[in-house]
Symmetry: none
Subunit: 212 residues, 4 copies
DNA sequence: GATGAATGAGCCTTCATTCAT
DNA sequence: GATGAATGAAGGCTCATTCAT
């Protein structure tokens, strides 16, 4: 990769970060391209040399975020000695991730839905699959080590993801009601621990979910 | 209520339904007031005799939806003989509700956030509180009848709500995928049944959540 | 005139008065037809049975105002024993009149200028001529009785009118600056007394105006 | 001032002039932003890079006009050897100014009256005060040199201003008639010459105005 | 490569006027 | 005669995107 390309990549990331910062406190539509340019200390037109469109920039941010969270899951979860701890970390990571990105994913959906670009969305979807695969690995290990109920991993992964996302969305929906991440995480853990973690003594076969 | 008022109310609902139909397939911002007018077979200006603004229309739709779901929860859940069944119905109702309205709630948030009208939002929030209270009743009954773990009802209610919402959001987020409501509900039930339902034999005291 | 016609005329005036009241505190364009209807305690559509258009209503108000001021000039000024007093009264009447109507005249101009109706304006113009004629009579008497300089009455009338109007407009222009009508009138009188009133002793032939 | 700023300033003025041209033949409200853009040979959106709103553009035009007339009064009136001539020039200048701007001032009032922007109006008012101060200087000189009656300058200034404005407004009110500026000016001069100019021989103390 | 001036489609909203009841 | 629901043209303004410099 030439110096040129490197520089370009660097700037691209720089702009994406600036945009991300802005999106954190306002909605996607409330942030104008000009705002982003200003925050990134670039001219408005310059942005279009790095991104085809505002939506493309959004997709890039999403990809970057997904890439980062994937790395984190890969490293932090596999580093845990206890599969329970691995799950714990997975949840914490996901919570943070969704907190930062749900808005943007929804905005992305909003704009990609009916409209143009055939493949921008595909790239994002690909990364999402990767993240799902990683989550499944964590769960699989839990199952192998008899800590998690032996149900369909994909379902378990989906469930975990959805639950976390649900708490995040809720803390955002109408007034946010100063939701405390730690309390949320504790609640999630409680639900999950008695929900998908193997219950040493008791009857855990209540669910109708297709266990393997 | 005079015939006039009745008619007015009827039309108001009619317009709201037309708008709702449109919002179901596109995002709030993608649907123009003109689209709504056309769908409702009214002139654009006519809408403004029923709603102060596009946002007001949105608030109305939200209120109506909340009102309906509250009634449904009240009637269907209390009609259940088994508290487990009551919870089941609660979840099913909430799932349907969130499926229909998350988008709109988020759009509402987006538009009300920093901006104007002081009290339109208040009305919606009030209804949300009512819904929460009703959910808590269902859970309280479950606790009384020793079917649900004796934890803080508010937390349990929040958890249930969040989980359901999470599944809904997820089925919507990027590609809507093939989310089958029934599979989702089953999964939710599984998670919850082993999560907040009292576990007859086994150790259910694993969670750190403050039980009463 | 039948009872019907009488009633119609009465209502017409009633509406016009309501409108006038509203125009007094807001600009012509800021007052909607609906506002007027409400103030007049009639339905919006009803107004259109009395007036062809909002502009027509305006014209009517103007005519009525002109009619009243003409009567007043005719009665009050001719009743004055002293021609100086007659002029005084003329000025006072005009001041009040312009205060009440300049806005409306200007609004009328704005709307009639480039636009339609061929004859609505004509009616108003006619009344304006009548008022001018009456003013000229007052001045003519002054000239005859050697109290006013023997200049062209039309010019004198125009001058008087303009001067009064100027003070009124000024008191309205940007902030009105709580202009006191009495102070204005005194100032006007001062200007006029030394300007168009015969100056008993001194040299009054300074002006280049074509005296008769 | 950089070239950029200069160009920007130039274009701003260019647009303002285009708008002014349009306002001269139609009312403020009859001219749309799009009309102005077309006249200025710019896109509609471009205007908003120079002016916050249509009202802001109006304020700018007013300020520019006031600035110009202030300069002209300052230079032309003080250049006159004779105080009578100075007054003459003042009147002529004011006449032209009001002819060009009364409409706009009134439109400005209409729009600023009850509504928003706290300080746009303030700027205009400031300039108006400056113009008033300059007029007073001219009159003061006349008083010092015993050519103008020794009355309160502020009143005299107001009177002069009002009178001129009255003639202008009148020539505009309903049909614009055939108002010949020269005839108007001559009439104004006649009125004033015998009104506020010192009358060498005769009795000039008729007025009740508070002379100093 | 970087810029920001220029663009114009498109949005929400207002309001004089019409017309079926 | 009286009404007010319905209308839709028109207005001001925003903002993603382009392009000449």
């Amino acid at each position: 990769m030439s110096r040129r390309d490197r520089e370009k990549e660097f700037k691209k990331k720089y702009i994406a970060e600036a945009a991300y910062r802005l999106f954190a406190s306002s909605s996607y539509e409330a942030v104008t391209v000009e705002d982003i340019a200003r925050e990134a200390e670039f001219g408005k037109g310059t942005l279009y040399q790095f991104f085809e469109s505002k939506d493309d920039l959004l997709a890039y941010i999403l990809e970057e975020g997904l890439d980062r969270i994937c790395s984190e899951i890969a490293s932090e979860c596999s580093a845990a000695v206890d599969p329970r701890e691995a799950l714990n970390r997975l949840i914490t990571l996901q919570y943070g991730f969704h907190k930062d990105f749900v808005h943007l994913f929804l905005a992305f959906k909003r704009n990609t839905d009916d409209l143009p670009n055939p493949d921008i969305a595909a790239r994002v979807r690909l990364m999402l699959d990767r993240k799902a695969a990683l989550s499944e690995q964590v769960l699989e290990r839990g199952i192998r080590e008899r800590v998690i109920i032996p149900a369909d991993v994909q379902k378990l992964a989906r469930a975990t993801d959805c639950i976390v996302k649900g708490f995040v969305i809720s803390g955002v929906e109408i007034d946010g009601a100063i939701d405390d991440p730690n309390k949320d995480l504790e609640l999630i853990r409680m639900v999950l621990s008695n929900g998908i973690l193997m219950n040493t003594g008791g009857d855990k076969s209540g669910g109708t979910a297709d266990r393997q």
